[in-house]
């Protein structure tokens, strides 16, 4: 069976090509989706890649939320389709309220671009089942609006329900509350994170490891098991 993974391009998206490539490296079919299309072309899962959609005007991810393609994505995500938001894609997912909380300017106000260690806190989501609980991975991080915030009640709820999927290790690069790098929704089909797994799927590039590949092989597992 061929698993079809849609990769959305908004005006200002940067990492759509890398994401399509990562999808193919994992043995899946990449289906480009355009922000004006309501039609999701019968994909089995969707990735919202990083970049600066709509120039990040107003707030990162705020305008993308109202694009035709997102209307379809929101409906499908609520019906259980796996959705992954990377960096700007994570920001879009918080703006659509598919994921709780919000992203703000890094506490030190600098753009960061570095290799970042993460701890996998939940290896049961649609996008993390190729990893092991507690596993450490090292993938690139590059952003300026990466500070995850939510109120204490929401943070406690996320922790209690195991919905913190990734935590920063060694250093908290942006002031994210409770070192949170990625989270999931209640059903575990929608995941958002700031670092970039799609840049670490081949030994030649990224961190020199393939720690990001597991996101894309997870989705294969998930859909074949289903």
């Amino acid at each position: 069976m061929t698993v079809r993974v849609g990769v959305i391009t908004f005006p200002g998206t940067l990492d759509d090509r890398d994401t399509q490539r990562a999808v193919r490296v994992a043995g899946l079919e990449a289906v480009p989706l355009w922000h004006r299309d309501k039609d999701l072309k019968q994909v089995d899962a969707v990735v919202l890649p990083g970049g600066f959609s709509y120039g990040d005007y107003l707030r990162a991810g705020a305008i993308s939320r109202f694009s035709p393609v997102m209307e379809s994505v929101i409906g499908q995500a609520k019906a259980g389709m796996p959705v992954l938001g990377i960096c700007n894609g994570f920001q879009v997912l918080t703006e659509t309220h598919l994921l709780p909380g919000a992203m703000l300017r890094n506490n030190h106000l600098h753009f960061i671009c570095r290799d970042q260690k993460l701890r996998v806190e939940n290896a049961e989501t649609a996008w993390t089942r190729s990893y092991e609980q507690g596993q450490e991975i090292n993938i690139p991080l590059k952003n300026i609006d990466g500070r995850y915030v939510a109120d204490e009640r929401v943070l406690d709820e996320l922790e209690a329900e195991g919905r913190v999927v990734f935590r920063y290790r060694d250093v908290n690069p942006n002031g994210s509350l409770r070192d949170i790098a990625g989270i999931t929704n209640e059903a575990g089909n929608v995941v958002g994170l700031m670092p970039h797994p799609e840049h670490a799927v081949e030994p030649l590039i990224g961190t020199g490891r393939t720690d990001g590949l597991g996101f894309f092989t997870s989705i294969l597992k998930k859909l074949v098991d289903a």
Binding site: P100, A102, L104, R105, N107, R147, A150, D151
Partner: protein
């Protein structure tokens, strides 16, 4: 044409490093006595037709769903007296 102003500010409990950077720069520029700065956004909306309750309700909806992210921000909507009105008021005050 009337103008409605929407001010959007980070909620008080949310850290504002941009405001802090501005505050820290003040003494270096010779401005003393400012203990805190918070930075926000101001939107000026030119409204077609009268700004009645219905128009204001619509603008509050715009502010709540789009201009502000109420997870992290508060907003305030107010009508700005247009220049003609201001001129009339000024003339009245002088007479």
């Amino acid at each position: 044409m009337a103008r409605v102003v929407v001010d959007v500010m980070l909620k008080p409990e949310i850290l504002d490093p941009q405001g802090q950077a501005v505050q820290r720069a003040l003494p270096r520029l010779g401005f003393e006595g400012i203990s805190d700065v918070r930075q926000g956004k101001r939107f000026e909306l030119e409204v077609e037709g009268p700004v009645d309750d219905a128009a204001l309700a619509r603008i509050r909806e715009i502010a709540e769903t789009f201009l502000a992210n109420t997870v992290i921000e508060d907003f305030d909507v107010r009508i700005e007296a247009d220049q003609a009105d201001s001129a009339a008021l000024a003339a009245k005050a002088e007479s």
